[in-house]
């Protein structure tokens, strides 16, 4: 459909013998084809890369309320003016050549961000040209703004001839437009602060990623930090340190576990062991570890190859490994460090007006207070389950409800697309 137009334009371009001035004007005649759109896209990227080099990235120049709102209003009012006053520009924005060029360009940029590790901190050439932070770079912003403009103009055009059949189209496009525009230009207003809580202490302040401190209108008191862990995994490791096999354990005695050609039988398992006076004992002390006494058999002939102790390590005790020596096959059987299953902060929240609220915060179970959502973030990894420190994250995003609206539109739209398929090309 498009090809004949293409060729015709090319022929005109090639045969034009009246000097370069006219060649240029005929090249930029409306409507633009793929060549013109591609040229615009690449020029924009070129300018974007230079801006990237000059300004050191977008992150420092990110818009915040109310500037972002003003920008959104000015941007979309200009689009409305284009819509009513400049039909030629409007046509360009709605043409398939524009849509495919800019959609393709956008996806291309995101693919780069999916391949080149994204880390703004690096100091190298990739970083200077914005390749290490694509989604906060000028070329990306230009591409997105033009694409979102096209999306907005498309929505207006379709709204003008609204019918029920169009609703799926409108839901999908409006949903995507809301998410793109609001999530991108609202990101400057997102607050994401951390808060360090210590057991038995109240904290009134939070800090951002640049360690700037902010006082809060409430305090959080950490009564207890509880970390539950999985029974440690059992691993078979070669003499050269290569992990040959690992298996989950139940944490109970009398369990049999097979590791490659060997079978391990657990005589004795305790989760709070301490090695004292050449003996493993139980005790509820910080730094106590998982300990097991194991017997190792050859899987084929059930011959006992040896028995001994294994234990996980902590800040108090060194880990204990089992050396297996089977006909010159030297190997190690050991417990891996136990992995956390669940960690919870038991807290009390206070405000100056004497209200007191008792609650628990854990991963996947945030707690909403004031304007913040409060998340369990981390703890002192070195101390593990004996950590006295619990790090919470306070998140506030004033635009979130609008983004959720877009998500809702997109969900309904996608279902509509699947279950009410309309004729393609209608």
């Amino acid at each position: 459909m498009n090809r004949p137009k293409f060729e015709k334009r090319n022929i005109e371009f090639m045969n034009d013998a009246n000097g370069p001035k006219k060649e240029l004007s005929s090249f930029w005649n409306y409507p633009f084809g793929y060549e013109q759109n591609l040229l615009i896209l690449i020029s924009l990227w070129f300018v974007g890369i230079q801006l990237e080099y000059l300004t050191g990235g977008l992150e420092k120049n990110i818009l915040q309320f109310p500037d972002n709102l003003y920008f959104l209003i000015i941007w979309h009012v200009s689009l409305l003016i284009i819509n009513f006053k400049f039909p030629q520009i409007l046509k360009t924005f709605l043409a398939k050549e524009f849509i495919f060029t800019f959609l393709g360009g956008w996806v291309f940029l995101i693919i780069i961000s999916g391949i080149v590790p994204q880390d703004h901190g690096q100091k190298n050439l990739l970083n200077q040209f914005g390749l290490t932070h694509i989604v906060v770079s000028w070329p990306y912003l230009f591409t997105l703004v033009l694409l979102a403009s096209s999306l907005f103009l498309t929505i207006i055009k379709r709204f003008a001839r609204f019918s029920l059949r169009e609703s799926v189209f409108l839901l999908n496009h409006t949903g995507l437009w809301i998410i793109l525009v609001v999530a991108t230009f609202g990101s400057g207003d997102q607050v994401s602060w951390k808060m360090n809580l210590y057991e038995g202490k109240a904290t009134w302040e939070a800090y951002d990623k640049n360690s700037k401190i902010y006082p809060l209108p409430f305090a959080i008191y950490l009564s207890d930090f509880i970390l539950q862990e999985y029974p440690p995994e059992l691993a078979l490791i070669s003499a050269s340190g290569k992990l040959l096999s690992k298996k989950k354990t139940s944490g109970m005695k009398q369990q049999r576990i097979s590791l490659k050609n060997y079978e391990v039988f657990f005589d004795e398992v305790i989760n709070d062991g301490v090695f004292f006076n050449n003996e493993w004992k139980r005790g509820k002390h910080p730094g106590n570890v998982w300990h097991a006494h194991i017997q190792v058999y050859d899987k084929k002939n059930q011959q006992l190859l040896g028995s001994g102790d294994i234990a996980t390590g902590s800040f108090l005790q060194a880990e204990q490994i089992f050396l297996l020596d089977n006909n010159d096959h030297k190997m190690i059987i050991k417990y891996l460090s136990p992995r956390p299953q669940k960690f919870t902060s038991m807290v009390k929240v206070f405000t100056p007006s004497q209200t007191e609220l008792k609650t628990s915060i854990e991963v996947n179970k945030p707690f909403g207070f004031d304007r913040y959502q409060i998340y369990q973030h981390s703890y002192d990894q070195k101390l593990g389950k004996w950590s006295q420190l619990s790090v919470l994250e306070l998140v506030y995003d004033p635009w979130i409800k609008i983004v959720y609206g877009g998500v809702f539109f997109l969900l309904i739209g996608a279902l509509g697309l699947a279950f009410f398929p309309k004729k393609w090309g209608g």
Binding site: I99, V116, S245, P366, V403, G425
Partner: protein
């Protein structure tokens, strides 16, 4: 703790019904064989279901976490899609493709039993977990089937396994419908993932490499719809495009682990 006996059993089941269907493909007119193929197919799916339930009970968690486990579900759902197409559209060859692919993925699982052994980190213990993964696997299965239908027509049109009574137009319509359904599930997966991320980490989108690739995949299929809308007559282009799209989907599913960005991902399994 993978049950090798069960793995072997369903591997054999699949292989046998794969062969059964293949013989049906060679000779359309032997109706009895077709029934036999369906029977083998159901048996294979039943065996897989038993394995999944077995894993669920022994691991005391839904087997939806590791790559190996997602492959199991994929192998269960793919022949199911093939059967639905067989019944609805009277097309038997997509079933054959589905089974071959299921067989391939089961073989991968069979040689990587360690892919089943992982502990769930706290962030994965969420009510969003099951819907997020299930809708993704359904989407993958549907999109794969549609791609195969296109690819078969693209490469072996009127040469091999030709099915009379089906022209290009009605085939591409079926493909578009399946893609639309797959895309709906893809969208749900993406959005459930975003809602879950908000619940677990405080931000609905963090450009984690897996997220980035999920978004790329979603965009690639979004472009497909625009391709079909603006270039309705270019059927071969659409069929070829779907092949490229499937490659992107596979990068998102497991290829991400081999990219330079993999180290930054929280989706490591």
């Amino acid at each position: 703790m993978v049950d090798y006996l069960l793995l072997t059993a369903f591997g054999m089941f699949l292989f046998s019904f794969g062969l059964g269907i293949f013989s049906v493909m060679i000779n359309h007119k032997l109706k009895g064989f077709e029934r036999m193929g369906d029977l083998f197919n159901l048996l294979g799916m039943f065996a897989l279901l038993v394995l999944i339930l077995h894993l669920w009970i022994t691991h005391q968690r839904p087997p939806l976490q590791t790559l190996g486990e997602t492959r199991l579900w994929y192998c269960l759902l793919l022949p199911m899609c093939g059967m639905v197409i067989n019944v609805k559209l009277k097309l038997s060859w997509p079933l054959w493709y589905c089974q071959s692919l299921a067989l391939l993925f089961l073989t991968i699982d069979f040689f990587n039993p360690a892919a089943f052994e992982t502990l769930l980190p706290p962030a994965l213990l969420s009510i969003y977990f099951i819907p997020h993964v299930v809708v993704y696997i359904i989407a993958y299965a549907l999109l794969t089937v549609a791609t195969f239908m296109g690819a078969k027509n693209f490469f072996w049109k009127n040469k091999m396994f030709h099915q009379p009574g089906l022209n290009d137009d009605s085939l591409i319509k079926s493909i578009d419908q399946i893609i639309a359904m797959g895309y709906a599930f893809l969208t749900m997966g993406l959005l459930f993932g975003a809602l879950w991320a908000k619940e677990a980490w405080g931000h609905y989108w963090t450009w984690d490499p897996k997220e980035t690739w999920a978004f790329i995949t979603w965009m690639i299929y979004l472009i497909y719809f625009h391709l079909r809308y603006f270039y309705l007559k270019k059927i071969r282009l659409a069929q070829f495009y779907l092949l490229g799209a499937l490659i992107m989907l596979f990068i998102c599913w497991f290829g991400v682990n081999y990219l330079p960005t993999a180290g930054q991902s929280i989706h490591t399994y």
